[in-house]
Symmetry: C2
Subunit: 396 residues, 2 copies
Amino acid sequence: MFPGERVPISSLSSSIDVKARREAMEKLRQKFLELLKKVLNGEEPKMIIPKRTLSNTIYDKERKLLLLGSETFERNFLDMREARKFMQTVLMASIIYEALVNNEYPTIRDLYYRGKHTIRYRDHRGRVEEENTWDEQRESDAVLRDIEVYVGLLREDMLILSKEKGKVVGDMRIRSGDDVIDLSKMGHGAYAIEPTPDLIEFIDVNAEFVLVVEKDAVFQQLHRAGFWKKYKAILVTSAGQPDRATRRFVRRLNEELGLPVYILTDADPYGWYIYSVFKIGSITLSYESERLATPKAKFLGVSMTDIFGDPETGKKPYLTEAERKNFIIKAKKTDIKRAQELMNYEWFKTPKWMKEIDLFLKKQSKLEIEALTGKGLRFLMDTYLPTKIETQDFID
Amino acid sequence: MFPGERVPISSLSSSIDVKARREAMEKLRQKFLELLKKVLNGEEPKMIIPKRTLSNTIYDKERKLLLLGSETFERNFLDMREARKFMQTVLMASIIYEALVNNEYPTIRDLYYRGKHTIRYRDHRGRVEEENTWDEQRESDAVLRDIEVYVGLLREDMLILSKEKGKVVGDMRIRSGDDVIDLSKMGHGAYAIEPTPDLIEFIDVNAEFVLVVEKDAVFQQLHRAGFWKKYKAILVTSAGQPDRATRRFVRRLNEELGLPVYILTDADPYGWYIYSVFKIGSITLSYESERLATPKAKFLGVSMTDIFGDPETGKKPYLTEAERKNFIIKAKKTDIKRAQELMNYEWFKTPKWMKEIDLFLKKQSKLEIEALTGKGLRFLMDTYLPTKIETQDFID
């Protein structure tokens, strides 16, 4: 099942990848060797895998993280109901292992294609039957997730790559692959974060906080106007819903460098959800949160009280009546529904978030970040953002 | 209407931007000064603007480009039917001019917000009426396009920014802003192209061709495995439909450095359209093609004859029968419809493209690039791509 190292590790790959590859191979081999030993000893071959169900997903209030609980399930080869899934898991593990050995960098789509074939066999009455290994990527993705939790390696650790949208600039040096990259020397462009951000080494940093901007276009504007230079920021964009690599990169900036992380999104439930994915993790993939989420991230804005002010605290709005009239977008039914859903999440049940969501439901209004740059980029850069940060006017 | 330079150009902006800003201001000022002079001389204030209609969009067979024809229209302030559009155009020009003066970097969304307000006026019977400058971004975008063709400046020349998906790596040094960037020292990450690629200076390059990959994940794989080092390529991804900056960047690589450009997409009408946008330009924005399109770009694959072979030329397929069975995706109705539409475009009316589209319609099959990496990344990198390039097996 597991071929030896037939192909020499190519000199074209970085030395970092060579090391990561060996570590992942070792872990995979060990875990599946246990299984093989069971067979050789005449024991039942079975895997004990943490459950990835909603009921086994726990919000840890202390750590402020979505985590997998302690429930597990058995995948037993000799159980007819489990045999197919068992075979799929072993198939996937062997494909990943081969890719590691052969110095490859598969994507999850590749893994699906590589494993997809039809098995012909004779049933107990001697009839020829056909069965597909898997039909849809949904199936192969679920098997991959089983392997991630079973072996205790994220896909990135196994050098499985994916498309990557995150970008960064700031006064910081990193080592990626065999290169040292100065993130303050990117000109008008930016550094596109690699799909395996755990392999990045932080060399040195000269910054006071991280600003994560939902929208790439706003990132471009702030970058170009020198926001990160003037305010000593590391500027990151997720370009919409954050992918895994951007989340992990931001988490590492917070955890390892101690930099506070502020998230800037549109003022709407979609923006709040982006914040929530950065901070807590996603519900369907809670096993990743432990490494990908940034529990200390703060929602900087745009908040409903930024738009309307807050009579309770005496906070004045950043928009005038006329600006509200011109800039506000009426919330859609789907926005309202989404807001009501968010109210049920444990981590939104704080006084500040309840006020935010209540105000949204009352006003049925949303606002884009661009409405603030519509007031002038200087307003966003030199008034709104510094004031929000200085007065600690964020939502936790 | 046009304020002077109230705010000093900030030291935070690059010197390149300072220069670009002055040039754009000068051009805008000159063009609208003409208008003002007409008013002062008692003449009718009117603009003569090239028509951006389909009938004035011409496919230039020689240059292989979609271009605007010579038809123009008049926008006359004193014509009641035109007065609103005239005012919108002047409003937009003044917003752009102010942004240039104030050292800003608006997006088209900002321009929409900045101009959006309600004008109250009394009609000829003395009644108070209200009129919005514009209601939707579609309206303000159309006005911006009028200004682009009227003044002869693309939005990027006026430092209007946008979100940007394109990435590049390769053995090449560029100057962007005030920095020199070595695109061969990006580690596992990549250089995210700036929204104003005309401001990039090419310093030196050591490459033989440009490979543009539709899919970011495939770009990541080829980059990581050292494709560009081994085959002396500049590797670019558009991450789906190419944006303006990626198109302009690729065009400059071709035109100024003389590098052949090969485009790699999925084998389906959506992929062909991506190729077509790179090569010819988009029909709705033909005035940009002159600067954004790369007429010499070649479609490298994945082609239908790569999948099925070609009995006429004796070309053997890259996929086995079993692989076709596993990897091919059945074409949807929308794919068929799209393919039939493409057949009507002048630039697809070549023998090779007709064969390609015919084969697609006959087999009703499509294929993703990932199906090739499903055969192994080494297959894509060391067999498929080099063979296709060496044997010049592309479609023009």
